[in-house]
Symmetry: C2
Subunit: 248 residues, 2 copies
């Protein structure tokens, strides 16, 4: 039960939901054809481990649907999430033999995998994949640095508000809505996963979520369904600059 489904369905890249955002976004028709030949799909169930840190890794991949996490674990069990992978995000590092982090499927997950060797050859030959990968990596680095500010300097309440704002924005983005005024979304993470993201304990997460609820910043329907009556109010709670840090 711990092996993923491997599908060799020759899915058409042209109809792929992440076609315009993933590592292949810049590819021309002929480049897509090359990719189609080395790609295959794997799907994982919620909770399944995709890769263990230290494991040999013979592929790189794009998340097609679902959510995965990158985590680091210390010897005594302390865990820190270091990446949250959404559809179109890239997993793995060209040129590296061995996984540096644990990758776990948080929801049911479908990944579009490329065998590493041919993928690296393709990167060397055509610039479009490498260009897009550079762009995506720079974006991830920016995200990591914002995350560092959160981990190092924000209060528990600010951390929770920031995480909710991030998820709300991404969710709005996927649904092609704007992140304004009244917003509704489902939390894709358990309290424990939120804690691992934020460098907190799950109890503190729970308390601060309750506090934001008490203060009317959010409304909870069940444990996971969240209503944000006023997105600007939520943003005020994040501690961030009010102008939203637009990086042009």
């Amino acid at each position: 039960m711990n092996t993923p489904d491997v599908l060799n369905v020759g899915h058409d890249c042209g109809a792929c939901p992440i076609r315009h955002r993933a590592v292949c976004a810049r590819c021309e028709a002929d480049e897509l054809q090359t990719l189609e030949q080395i790609k295959y799909y794997r799907s994982y169930q919620a909770g399944q481990t995709v890769i263990w840190s230290g494991d040999r890794m013979d592929f790189v991949a794009s998340v097609v649907t679902g959510i995965a996490t990158l985590t680091q674990t210390m010897e005594d069990g302390r865990r820190q999430m270091v990446g949250l992978l959404l559809p179109s995000d890239f997993v793995g590092r060209p040129g590296r033999q061995v996984a540096a982090y644990d990758v776990t499927a948080t929801t049911d997950l479908v990944m579009c995998c490329f065998r590493k060797k041919p993928f690296e050859e393709m990167m060397a030959k055509t610039p479009h994949v490498a260009q897009r990968l550079l762009e995506m990596t720079l974006d991830e680095l920016d995200a990591a640095r914002e995350w560092m500010l959160l981990l190092g300097r924000k209060t528990a309440r600010e951390k929770i508000a920031s995480l909710l704002a991030i998820i709300a924005r991404r969710d709005a983005h996927l649904k092609l809505k704007s992140a304004k005024g009244n917003i509704v979304f489902d939390l894709p993470l358990t309290r424990e996963e939120m804690a691992d993201y934020l460098g907190l304990t799950l109890e503190t997460v729970s308390r601060q979520v309750s506090a934001l609820k008490r203060d009317g910043v959010i409304v909870l329907e069940g444990k996971r369904h969240i209503v944000v009556p006023d997105f600007d109010r939520l943003l005020e709670e994040t501690g961030d600059d009010s102008d939203g840090g637009l990086l042009v």
Copy 2:
């Protein structure tokens, strides 16, 4: 006094100390010639600000000598360092108009700058610069993720030990020594800068440095000069895996 020296000396790239590690590491002779035409040097004094977050930025650059920091500041003044730039590290992002972080010279600093426009054109035309930049960005992303584990999950003592270990390793690397046994180096950061790096206050940094000294993990000669009698002992204090996390 707040404008950097701009030097147009036609330094020979072949003799550059960071020739084999910087963004130009992979360039052929003819590519270096192109770079020589668009490059110029700037130098800054210790403490000078190189760029303010939000400023228009018309160049990208490599650190040639000295140390610079990338920091983010919240409205109420809380600061978090998000990057520590050593010789050969790259500053700026191709395709971005505006600086995302404050860049500050921690020591006297010399940077090799490229006007952004021609640099971007060169990236589009020749793959070597982009390839190397991708590699460097992936390395930085790994470093950022290790830093996130530090910020989110380590104790103050572990944070200090980790920072000392990182600096010791880099210093050993620059001096082409191995990081083992007895090690000696100078701290390039003030207590406050260390605090900004680690997500602590400067008082806590001072206390934990004193504690490590009391426990014989380090010996202080003056405030900045540090002797590590037993590097493995220091590593034990970092909380990291004993096998040093070798990413092959």
